[in-house]
């Protein structure tokens, strides 16, 4: 069952990431060129490109199951990697691939379906004695029913999209009076994001940590975990900084939670890479939240500390290879951070900062990995998420990794857009973050401003404004003289003296 041709049914950094590993494995990679991003960088990483840039369909190609199947059949492509988002967690797509003898790189349609349905997933967890939060049994249909359930388990509660993920269709309800409005908002958000407005209710744990375990399983029933990722630095349930391991876990907790994660995966005969998410409260109780049946955005931190290539293992497992690694063979080495560099204006409530990346320059070192789907001249569009790059930094231990990260962020220059770099720097400067004492309320509780403010920087910026203004006044005077000579002077040429230092 060797894969010869692989379609990457995705875009951006994850498409680049998948193609890099697939190419190294000698697989011919295929990408799809879309009308929304005909000049995107990921296309230059593919061996073959299917050009659909003239198609202006309502459904984006990466969500169009039948069209993708047709493309693969026509081009004799024998496997597809869905990346994350889009069809990555569609049991229907996985099944249509199976019916057409195409290898879907991911778990079985049955695993995706069961873990995707939060109600079934919880029943399975209960059956395997994995701790759960109190909540509704199945979905709630109306806000009055929601009120009833919430009355029984006690406020605060959280409404969640049954088909959800990624923080969409999620609302915390503090008191009864808010239920109607929140129910409506969460439902309409869920409808938009997942085409399914179903909601369920859960007891809301205030200020938990978000800790998830990476799972790897093969088709022969071998399942191991690759340790945890700490993803508590979030804004509106969107992860911003992740790390592995977590500063909150002791070795015995790691063993206990790891076992629970493997049990969840085993309950659906899971194969491929997956992630089991837990909440950890301030008394170190953990609760199963959900299992993501895909590769995650933050998978690189696990790769940095384990030295494994998760995409490679996904492909090998999809080809039927046995997972030769046993749990005791997995070694954890050092500490890794991932910073999501998004095109967002942290000084204006993280609003998207769309536009062209005029220049970009990355720090370089053997401890640093950059995963990106853009290059100089790329456009950040409103069609997709605002991620520019992921900066991943590895260090011997947490302290060293923080120092290395701080330095790396200072050498990451982006021109043309506002980015979350100042936010990442200010998190790293926070004492409680440095001491590993934080939870999902970190942004609200610890950060009065979301960027690193420095009076000296402000003064230099003010000087630079005056400098440019004075330069313009001066060149207005001199331009007239130079027009007569037939040449214009650029402001920067006037300033040779500036290089004198």
């Amino acid at each position: 069952m060797k894969i010869k041709n692989l379609l990457v049914a995705n875009r951006g950094e994850i498409a680049v990431r998948i193609m890099r590993t697939a190419s190294a494995m000698g697989i011919v990679t295929w990408a799809v060129k879309t009308s929304r991003e005909p000049g995107a960088w990921y296309l230059s990483h593919a061996d073959k490109v299917i050009d659909l840039s003239e198609d202006f369909e309502d459904i984006p190609i990466f969500l169009d199951v039948e069209k993708l199947i047709e493309i693969m059949r026509k081009n004799k492509i024998d496997a597809v990697h869905p990346g994350y988002g889009f069809l990555a967690e569609s049991p229907f797509f996985a099944e249509r691939c199976e019916q057409n003898h195409i290898i879907f790189i991911g778990p079985s349609p049955d695993s995706i379906y069961k873990m995707g349905n939060k109600t079934i997933a919880k029943q399975l967890a209960r059956k395997h004695n994995v701790p759960l939060l109190q909540g509704s049994i199945g979905n709630v249909m109306t806000h009055s029913e929601a009120r009833e359930v919430a009355g029984m388990i006690g406020y605060p509660v959280i409404l969640k999209a049954a088909a959800g993920g990624g923080g969409r269709g999620m609302r915390v309800v503090e008191k009864e009076g808010e239920m109607e409005k929140m129910f409506r908002m969460a439902g309409s958000e869920a409808e938009k994001a997942f085409n399914d407005p179903s909601l369920f209710i859960e007891k809301y744990v205030r200020n938990p940590r978000h800790i998830e375990f990476q799972i790897l399983g093969d088709k022969k029933g071998n399942i191991i975990h690759l340790g945890e990722r700490e993803c508590s630095i979030q804004r509106k349930h969107q992860k911003l900084i992740e790390e592995s391991p977590s500063p909150a876990l002791t070795e015995s907790m790691r063993v206990k939670m790891g076992e629970a994660a493997v049990n969840i995966a085993r309950s659906v005969d899971y194969y491929s890479a997956g992630t089991v998410e837990f909440l950890l409260d301030d008394r170190n109780n953990f609760y199963f939240m959900e299992m993501n049946t895909r590769i995650q955005v933050e998978h690189p931190v696990t790769e940095m500390v384990t030295g494994l290539d998760l995409i490679e293992w996904q492909i090998r497992i999809a080809m039927g290879e046995e997972l030769i690694l046993k749990q005791e063979d997995v070694n954890f080495n050092g500490w890794a951070f991932e910073f999501r560099i998004n095109a967002e204006d942290v000084q204006a409530g993280f609003s998207p900062s769309l536009g062209i990346i005029e220049k970009i320059s990355y720090p370089r070192s053997k401890n640093i990995r950059i995963d990106t789907g853009v290059k100089q001249g790329s456009v950040i569009t409103p069609y997709y998420d605002s991620m520019i790059a992921k900066l991943i930094v590895h260090g011997e231990n947490r302290e060293k990794a923080i120092v290395l990260s701080s330095n790396a962020l200072k050498k990451l220059w982006i021109k043309g857009l506002k980015t979350t770099i100042p936010f990442c720097r200010s998190v790293l400067a926070n004492k409680n973050f440095r001491n590993g004492k934080f939870d999902t309320s970190f942004l609200q509780k610890e950060m009065k401003i979301y960027y690193h403010e420095d009076p000296e920087e402000e003064m230099l910026a003010a000087f630079f404004a005056a400098y440019d203004y004075a330069l313009n006044l001066k060149s207005e005077d001199e331009m007239q003289v130079n027009f007569e000579k037939g040449k214009a002077i650029t402001p920067w040429l006037l300033n040779k003296r500036l290089r004198s230092l």
Binding site: P382, I414, K415, K418, L460, F463
Partner: protein
Amino acid sequence: MDKFIVCGSGKKKFEVIQPLLEKPKVKGKKLDLCIVQEPDGFNYIIWKRKKYQVDILEKNQNKYTIMINGVWYSFTVETPISYKRRKYLAKTASSSKIERVSAPMPGKIIDIMVEENSEIRQGDPVVILEAMKMQNEILSHVNGRIKKINIKTNDSVMKDDVILEIERG
């Protein structure tokens, strides 16, 4: 011509003397700095052996938005004469009774929760704006009465578009 007053947010101001000469004076202090444009296209200020990436994000006559190490600051650059005029104007301008609520980010209006002429209190949601697939409540900053609504449900708005006007009460 060689003295400028750079006004920042709030009441911050920076007096800059001789910005084009070596060792310009900022807030009365001589700065031994250097501006470099590197071949890679980035501009830097080098000061006290530290390198600051600096850029002009926006420029409109004397209004500047400068980004330094990823953080932006807005300024207006005034000459001593224009600064006097600005201060005079600020003193005479009466404070407006109309509060304009504008979109904090580009997006789509999902729901409008108020009507024209309805009373509103500070902190009340006025509209729900969807951006990047997330729904955000836009809240009123003042108590008052809705004077005018400029948008309809399902309208797309750009950042800083005025969504509605509230008369302070």
